[in-house]
Amino acid sequence: MSGVLQLRGVSKTYLDGADEVHALREVDLAVEAGKMVAVMGPSGSGKSTLLTIAGALETPTSGDVLVAGHPLSTMSRDDRARLRRRAIGYVFQDFNLLPGLTAAENVALPLELDGVSAGKARATGLRALDELGLAERAARFPDQLSGGERQRVAIARAVVGDRRLLLADEPTGALDSENGEAVMRMILAACKHGVAAVIVTHDAQLASWADRVLFIRDGRVVDRTAPRRGPDSLLAEETA
């Protein structure tokens, strides 16, 4: 099937001393190529946990995760690492830029690690930065950038290359509305090229860019939006 990401009955329980924290309970999710799914929920509801498990950064306590049809649980560590590097773009809630590299080097790094020539990786990275209005910041180090600029560098790093799955944790948290919209348009453009995306957020304006919105509460998916209707229905609703 064309499901790029599948979660089947995924649960995650953390141990906090003697207490069990049920961060996720029996979550099912399937994201097809070209689709954007948003996950909304209050703080502590399990959004980041869901994303780290989908991104092979953590293993579930029970349940299965499949990326491009391959179950992560049966992969070797090396294979999982390769999958993460090649196929998955990840935007962390706290950006995770490498402080010793410039903005452009941060963006180009995953491409270079993957064997793309330095020159080509740099050109691709610069193009992504330019699209987010950061061409002039390319040579700066993360600590010379504003919070919103750092966030956009992290987005650029996640979308470059031939990623099939894009996972973003609050990708516009530090951005004003104009830059937030630029970021969402960039993610949407990636989806139109066949990337599957999961965006975690508690911002409804951000979530409204998605094809489907999942609502999560206490680790459980409690509701989801109906398939999107076209905008025609809005303008047809005449004020009689």
Binding site: M40, P42, R185, L188, H202, D203, A204, Q205, A207, S208, W209, A210, V213, F215, V222, D223, R224, T225, A226, R228, R229, G230, P231, S233, L234, L235, E238, T239
Partner: protein
């Protein structure tokens, strides 16, 4: 929406025909607020009666009759633009009322009620956002209207989220003795009117 002032605004650009006024009104509001013909002509008649516009008095009333704004009309328009709309008294918001009722009603899960509204509003927001996506370069008027709608709906979701959290916390605390806060709000709103 004040049709009266919208028409004055269009006429302040220069004399126009009735039909033209209707078409331009719809174009400028991104066709989100359709207007019927009758509304345009009856409003024009009242504006003329009040001396805010003048017409070619010999022409028949109808689509071909031309209108001009008067000096009084221009003053009226300038005053209206700068007069804040009444935002001081809380509107009777049906959604707020539904949640308030759900809190008190036995056998009703208020969080489920809140979620039903949250989902519906997010679905509406998806439709508005899709308009931004599909139209690429939105007409400026429509783009402004879409932004306004998205922020309005977003603020409702934020209120629902806040209410959800507040109710969750309240359920964990012993109930406080009921205090009448409502008269205070009513009195305050009364003063501002």
């Amino acid at each position: 929406m004040s049709v009266r002032h919208a028409l004055l605004a269009l006429l302040s650009e220069g004399p126009k025909y009735g039909l033209q006024l209707r078409e331009e009104f719809e174009a400028r509001t991104g066709e989100v607020w359709p207007l019927n013909v009758g509304q345009v002509y009856s409003t024009l008649q009242r504006l003329e009666r009040d001396g805010l516009v003048e017409s070619d008095d010999d022409a028949d009333p109808g689509p071909q009759k031309g209108f001009r704004i008067t000096a009084g009309g221009a003053d009226e328009l300038a005053g209206w633009l700068r007069t804040p709309p009444d935002l001081a008294s809380p509107p009777r918001d049906e959604l707020v009322i539904k949640v308030l009722v759900a809190v008190r009603l036995p056998g009703v899960d208020v969080h489920e009620v809140i979620q039903a509204h949250r989902r519906y509003i997010v679905e509406l927001m998806q439709q508005w956002t899709r308009l931004k996506d599909e139209e690429g370069d939105l007409d400026l008027g429509l783009a402004l209207v879409v932004d306004a709608e998205l922020y309005r709906l977003d603020s409702v979701v934020q209120w629902l989220d806040t209410a959800d959290g507040r109710l969750k916390r309240a359920a964990l605390e012993p109930p406080a003795p009921a205090r009448a806060a409502a008269p205070l709000i009513r009195r305050r709103a009364g003063v501002r009117r």
